[in-house]
Assembly symmetry: D2
Homo-oligomer: 163 residues x 4
Amino acid sequence: MLNRVILIGRLTRDPELRYTPSGVAVTQFTIAVDRPFTSQGGEREADFIPVVTWRQLAETCANYLRKGRLTAVEGRIQVRNYENNEGKRVYVTEVIADNVRFLESSREGGSGNGGGAPREEAPYSGGGNRSTGNNSGGYSRGNQDPFSDDGKPIDISDDDLPF
Amino acid sequence: MLNRVILIGRLTRDPELRYTPSGVAVTQFTIAVDRPFTSQGGEREADFIPVVTWRQLAETCANYLRKGRLTAVEGRIQVRNYENNEGKRVYVTEVIADNVRFLESSREGGSGNGGGAPREEAPYSGGGNRSTGNNSGGYSRGNQDPFSDDGKPIDISDDDLPF
Amino acid sequence: MLNRVILIGRLTRDPELRYTPSGVAVTQFTIAVDRPFTSQGGEREADFIPVVTWRQLAETCANYLRKGRLTAVEGRIQVRNYENNEGKRVYVTEVIADNVRFLESSREGGSGNGGGAPREEAPYSGGGNRSTGNNSGGYSRGNQDPFSDDGKPIDISDDDLPF
Amino acid sequence: MLNRVILIGRLTRDPELRYTPSGVAVTQFTIAVDRPFTSQGGEREADFIPVVTWRQLAETCANYLRKGRLTAVEGRIQVRNYENNEGKRVYVTEVIADNVRFLESSREGGSGNGGGAPREEAPYSGGGNRSTGNNSGGYSRGNQDPFSDDGKPIDISDDDLPF
DNA sequence: TTTT
DNA sequence: TTTT
């Protein structure tokens, strides 16, 4: 009935821009948010939270965000689930963002990632997302996960868009 | 660096109260939060979001919350991970709540679950949590999951407490 | 750069619906939000926070909200200022809401205000708003306050709309 | 019943640290938060939102925040009121912060305010707050306003502390 | 495994 | 001017 999340943290990698078959942009990235306390061993800990953006916001994020950049994200928690190739139901929790603020310009900060001007075309960043196995699924219930296991966009229609 | 979540929804079941070996109370429940739009098929959808509370708040939740009750939850997103018994890393996302508001008193609303006065002793609710297999783990990195696979509290020290 | 507010409380009066000259609906109400602690004298205290909604949401609020109803409000803080008739600058802080949830249906709760079905036409609720003096102003800087001192809508154009 | 605010913006001045008679630290500053749209004239607009912090957080803010610094603030809206010297009731809305994040270190950004290392002793910054007249009041109802009209801390007890 |  |  009400579902609001606000996060401030740093990108763990460059964002990944894809397109649905009908041409809608969708970008995924993970932000590391430091916890407000240290573990019993005295180490700083962080939560690594997956974020998804759609449409215009997806393209802006792909153009301006880079690994290590401090970023504010506003959105809602979404929990989707799919059956994996072993017939087991897998739950995936993501933040569907509707507002992203770039708290560091390309000039400053960051994690030594050269960086500089925004890239005009977000190049394909290759495989390596969190899921495993050769299945895909994940959309049996109208949810949004643009990422198949081989790193190619999977089949989603515009009707899957969250707003 | 900043991690804030606010949810309003309904409990999908009665909450489960457990205690850590050192006697700290911890309560888990899931709230169903209706999405602000319907799916392409016109059906209402919801996200089912797991919530964890600790200490005094855990006991208050166990005493006053019941299945179906409208509830506001404030907290932070926590992502923990553990290796399951097949050697695969499993990610679990929960909201660690520090503020819970009961938006329906025991008198009104609810889902016809008898209910009424708060129970004085939260009875043990037994098995059936989300994890599978006979392992346990989940705490290799100082994270908080009080629930083992056989429904018994697992070994956590007070140092695991989030605040 | 980011400005987000979430409140849960009760209406102190029925909401007031007005229209701008160009016909845009705008509704104002105040919600009382209990503080999480008591004063030194042991009394419960509350903050009384003015809320403004626009367009479709304004009409829905006017139709379904009533004095005493428990309500969740999501929006942003807006601070506008104007020069009053004594030449003094007055600051007004309001929450401009973009999401309002009715946590009590007309059936239950409420403050014994008869109530029941939503009114089809929100009747004119007359004077008595917060400002004083016979001036009006308040819009010298493109801000939104639809309420003049004599209880009549003042001159705002569609361009004043916040979204 | 629930009252949560999250803001990201820049300080309009250096923060002002004061102490209550019993020695509790309290710091006030204003942050400018750009609106998500431009006015009809195409100008960027901002809301100027007063923030109050207490105790340890007050001292940290006084030591590390400076004019122009990008800052995240988490807290609750508080509306207090007092009778001014003309016998008129004045309403003051502030954000009582319980979490402040410094999004720019002393090295980078800022508004050319020399700056650098945190000051060890927050010097008295003198008069010039928003209130006017020679009265004071403002605390008849157990509210927290550490600022009297002549810029000196006024009489508040520890009991006025919000948490 | 899901709530109204 | 304030709600339960």
